[in-house]
Symmetry: C2
Subunit: 408 residues, 2 copies
Amino acid sequence: MAYSFSHMVHSMHAKDVKLLMKQSSGKDMISFAGGMPNNDLFPLKEIEDIFHALPPDLKKLCFQYGPTAGYPPLIKALKSYLEKKSLPVEENKILITTGSLQAISIITQEFVNKGDIILTEKPCFVGALTVFETYGAKIIGIPVDENGIVIDELKAVLKKLPKKPKFLYVTPNFHNPAGIIYSLERKNELLETLAGKGILLLEDDAYSDLYFEQGDKHFKLPMKALNKSDVDVIYTGSFSKILGPGFRLGYMLASPDIFDKAETIKQALDACTSNFCQILAQQFLAQGALENYLVFLRKEYRMRKDLMIQSLEKHMPEGVDWHEPKGGFYIWVKLPAGIRSKNVFRESVKKGVVFVTGRTFDPKGKGDRFLRLSFANVPKNEIDKGIGILAEALKKTMTKRDKFNTIS
Amino acid sequence: MAYSFSHMVHSMHAKDVKLLMKQSSGKDMISFAGGMPNNDLFPLKEIEDIFHALPPDLKKLCFQYGPTAGYPPLIKALKSYLEKKSLPVEENKILITTGSLQAISIITQEFVNKGDIILTEKPCFVGALTVFETYGAKIIGIPVDENGIVIDELKAVLKKLPKKPKFLYVTPNFHNPAGIIYSLERKNELLETLAGKGILLLEDDAYSDLYFEQGDKHFKLPMKALNKSDVDVIYTGSFSKILGPGFRLGYMLASPDIFDKAETIKQALDACTSNFCQILAQQFLAQGALENYLVFLRKEYRMRKDLMIQSLEKHMPEGVDWHEPKGGFYIWVKLPAGIRSKNVFRESVKKGVVFVTGRTFDPKGKGDRFLRLSFANVPKNEIDKGIGILAEALKKTMTKRDKFNTIS
């Protein structure tokens, strides 16, 4: 089926998609690939009830143009939602965007000219890499460890750069693909490192509501909330993981100066974001339905994460490593030395399992000792079977390499 | 009310908005300003019924990501819709965009670098002007008469240009703001003039379904359908006027080469257009609901147009001129020599009527002998009262000018 196939390949490396197409039509595959929410968990009834209950004037407004900055009641509802995350909403302004990718795109258009430098994490969300490449930026990736971006590596890069980078793009909470959350200490270190340097921090926070444990509240605090220095932090968020990507609803929280230019750019991109989607999301937020839905989602995704961790422990050979995520959608698996993710992919696809290879998330197309497994959009009863198949594919790849090493 | 105010000022000149804000909060004004459909005419029940009747799998898909090019069944439905307009859908590809303004924005990003020349009509749709300015284009406007762009003026400009323009942007069917439709002859002349010159034609066709008379079918044919020469025509269309701008749904029909780059740019703008909106629109199209709705819309807008023409004839002083539109939303009113639209605006706002001044649609901010009246989004029973007030404001402006002339 062409359509479900296009879903599976969402965020996959172009070369891997080619291989997948050669091997199969995507039918009956177990997919750990797509970075999207689970189709079976969307709040269908809640949204249908919300639309049905709208007063006629609001229904009409769903069909009409809205202001470029966003539907004012949604901005208001977002303000109190973001205030609960300790974000400084009063000194900043909110721009509603057509998905948070549009926010990243707008900021890139606002600050970056061809040849300008953008710093990212390595690995990095592939959608952001696509945006930065499209606008001709030179991308430099800074490694990430289990507590966040590696500060010494960042400092070393900053020293060597021929010119000041336009911004550093980070996803501190439940990283895509690395699955980690920055420690509070690392967040503060990063802010200190950037202080006084005039380098913007672009903080992408698409996943922070999807934690598995209540835990330490400060752990999940956005960097824009922690920031006490002079660093200009632009914060972006999304409804894609807490309502549905089909609404194409995101937002940015930025200082009034940055907001003003961003609003002008948005006007030239699509005039305004869908009122239809904005009004439904506003009601979902303002009526308190989001909170109940999040409780449900956290439980569901946690169950899938637990199943996948158990299966990894059961099936994976020695030398394979992973970090158990505290939230989000992903497990970032480190392969034994000398094993390349794309070779595992080749074996795995033959046997009916797909994932995303590590190189996909590297601006230079390297970093292929990793693979990203998404536990979000896969039926629970397929997880163990799929990880079993993946482990077999990995073992076969390891055997081949051993043979090759013996021969050569 | 801040929100209805923001609706009223949609597409108004910034200076006029300032004046309006000084004079009033926008409350109880009669607005001939907004270029949007009428809130009371949207197909609320049809869309609610469509969503309610969707099978569960399609409802889930509404919430999910879709392919960058668009929801495949919507592309299929659009193909047969565009085939009925004699458009060459087989040799071209369709890209679904977040409103047709996004299509214009993508084409501008694809072809235009800072300082490049874009040709437009004069007057020109203000949204397109905003896009072209944002990307740093040099805009040159070619006058329009009641049959379309003036070919001799176009030829004269082409001769004088220091470098080849990247494209010519036109809205041949029910022009915004001029209210005209290109004659078949003029369309063919324009294609002949561009033949062999390597200048793209960007054809914006947001209004062609909103005709008032069945008339000559060829009259409404898109230029992309008429084109037999080597001119590369990019055709854009929109659901904003035939379903609702709140869906932010548009599309482009372009050659495969242009499509490929456009798809890459779209991926970096918002990844994909809302599946929620696309699936509702696809059902609206595929179930045949659009055709019935258009019959209703044409009748309703025609009634408003007739009322406004009658009122203009009744109230306007001598020396005021207009062209009766055959479709669309607008009447473009020419003021007596020496009278400036912004001065009439000043008087008119004081008395409670707003419209859009002519300079708004001129890349150079001139062309102020005209004003645009929209009959689309105003209650029928306010039209005569509003035109009466406007006529009084105009007469007062004329008297002032006469006094001034006498004194000086």
